[in-house]
Amino acid sequence: MSKFKVVHYINQFFGQVGGEEMAHIPAEKRKGPVGPGLAFTKNFGDDAEIVATIVCGDSWFNENLELATETVLAMVKEESPDLFIAGPAFNAGRYGVACGTICDAVQTELGIPVLTGMYVENPGADMFRTKVLIVSTADSAAGMRRAVPAMAKLALKLVKGERIGASVEEGYIPDGVRRNFFDKKRGSTRALEMLLKKIAGEPFETEYPMPTFDRVPPMPAITDMTKATIAIVTSGGIVPKGNPDRIESSSASKYGSYNIEGVDDLTSETYETAHGGHDPVYANEDADRVIPVDVLRQYEKEGKIGKLHDWFYSTVGNGTAVASSKKYAAEIAEKLISYDVDAVVLTST
């Protein structure tokens, strides 16, 4: 009995090429399993084997979406696999987006089953959860030991064409399809237990999340830019040299407000980035590459804009919980309103 053939996609870090400084490498194919592929091999047992691994830089993939997708698709096609898996990406945003994108493409173009895994707050999860099956993982590679067996098990079901159960049964991120299953306890008991938790203020999980329609209507455009006050906000983690507020490089617990009155240009002497999610070199050399203080100051002097707001607001958007970001932004918004700021340029890395 022959084993199912699997192709595995991983990033430069798990491919043991390097860290952020190697995020720019283009996709390359290697024979057999690499890195976490070895753990997958163990879990697949006699049923499946990884015949090839595609290692790709997260930045290269995200900055060249079309080319990267085409390239990787061709590599996968060459192998004629029965199954394609990617990641797990945990909370790495670019990696999650890459996994979701390439899985979606393989599923659509090559018609073979696909599976990936990532943390529920990974941007890739929201983008692809209804298109591609995504196993729910921890938010860091410390969760590898749990993620791989869960992914391997579900992957084998997919490739064998077996029935996929409900999200809680199989461990994947709810994909927008409701599926019935038999729980351990009857509904009334589940309701009582849920109520007791709710009363005690303990966390509980609803069995049916109400649909949310969270779109914010666009605010009216600026009619006269020459009179407008523009403020800079960034998730790129630009901070004064030395990071006086100690904003964390990942999962920021705060944001900073930094005064740029009289500052025409950001330099490597005066500013740096606290962002730990990408190669910091370029931002450290010239922080204007992340927040365009130089251009906006010039425009202020030329009268193209009314004023560049005296403060910029900065946090690190690397693995930062959505709830935290919302909180920071709400506080920042309050400040902006008190200063009569007319519009915001928000930059992200």
Binding site: S59, T223, H278, V290, P292, L346, T349
Partner: protein
Amino acid sequence: MVKEIERAGIPVVHICTVTPISMTVGANRIVPAIAIPHPLGNPELPADEEYELRRKLVDKALEALSTEVDDQTIFEV
């Protein structure tokens, strides 16, 4: 963050590289950036050319802020 600030009543333009994320998350005015580690720059270029590149992106951003939109819109440079 983009949505929270807009929710408070201030128009926002989001300059970012991975625009699909911005779309999913729900920003209304989006300008695609150059690259993740340097969204408004390109270290390959000599300083003056890089400045010019940045200026064009800022122009596009200001244009987005000056344009009425009904729905999520990507403003390409």
